[in-house]
Amino acid sequence: MGEVFVITSGKGGVGKTTTTANIGTSLAMLGYRVVLVDADIGLRNLDVVMGLENRIVYDLVDVAHGRCRLRQALIRDRRFETLYLLPAAQTKDKNAISPEQMKALCEEIKKECDYLLVDCPAGIEQGFRNAVAGADRAIVVTTPEVAAVRDADRIIGLLEASEIRNPLLILNRIRPKMVRTGDMLDVDDVIEHLAIELLGIVPDDESIIVSTNRGEPAVLNSHSKAGEAYRNISRRIAGEEVPFMNLENGGGFMDRVRRLLGLRTS
């Protein structure tokens, strides 16, 4: 029996879909059977990030309403044969699926995979309730910004109310240089505020944009720092102990000057 993770954030655009695609691909690289479910109904995205947009025939809502069988709607990844995507519907009807239907669907899928990852839409409305309905655990994605951390805090409260305990945190889009100069919240600040377990830190990285353009998740690129961070995260999910990545590479000139002068380098 597989485990269902919902990837959620509250605030939009902080990297839920990027995270879902990368963790999913990387778990499949490790040999696990993985199903990705795009629960962002009306704003289908995960298919594009995965580069599978041309192969969609049926979607999540079709399955939930019995218009096709689950097997017919699952799209197999081009690269890994243990990786599947269940795409979101592009309907405008927000109530196209209910939490009960979503829960039943997750129950059915998890019987035949190791990890089921649900890409949650932004917000705390119906879409959120659907996405968490079948989840065993949650991964909260945030960026080092006041608004994103605040929304993450709301989400953690709502997850608790839905009886999803001990969510894990991914801090995305960290810029080590800005952290060093004191212009970005660092991981310790965020953890102090949210008081949840850290699953990983992902740097802000241009390779994410390149990989999204190509429809090839960054974990496939061995030179990508963000890809490396996501590969580490996946190994942690699979139970391995992997030390947190050192995002500082060398330190800038001013940083070295400050250190020479014995001043705080944070």
Binding site: V146, M184, L185, D189, H193, L263
Partner: protein, 91 residues
Amino acid sequence: MLELLQRIFRRDSYKTSKDVAHERLRLVLMHDRLDLSPKVMEELRADLMNVIKEYMVIDEKTMEINLEKDQQCVALVANIPVIRMKRLPNS
């Protein structure tokens, strides 16, 4: 450039934007989390009442508790009319 110099020779009073964000986050989260549901407020009120009743007889009907907040801090303010003190064993 001036900003850069200030940062290099950062004094204790100089606040980086990260320090500012940290403090704003602390306040905003405190306010957000204060938004307790009526159910939780009712539980808090009942718990408080039970503790106080050990020591004095209070007017339960007019007792009031509130969380008061301003820009900088938060206080739990209670207004509990006391009707009579109990005779406590060691007084």
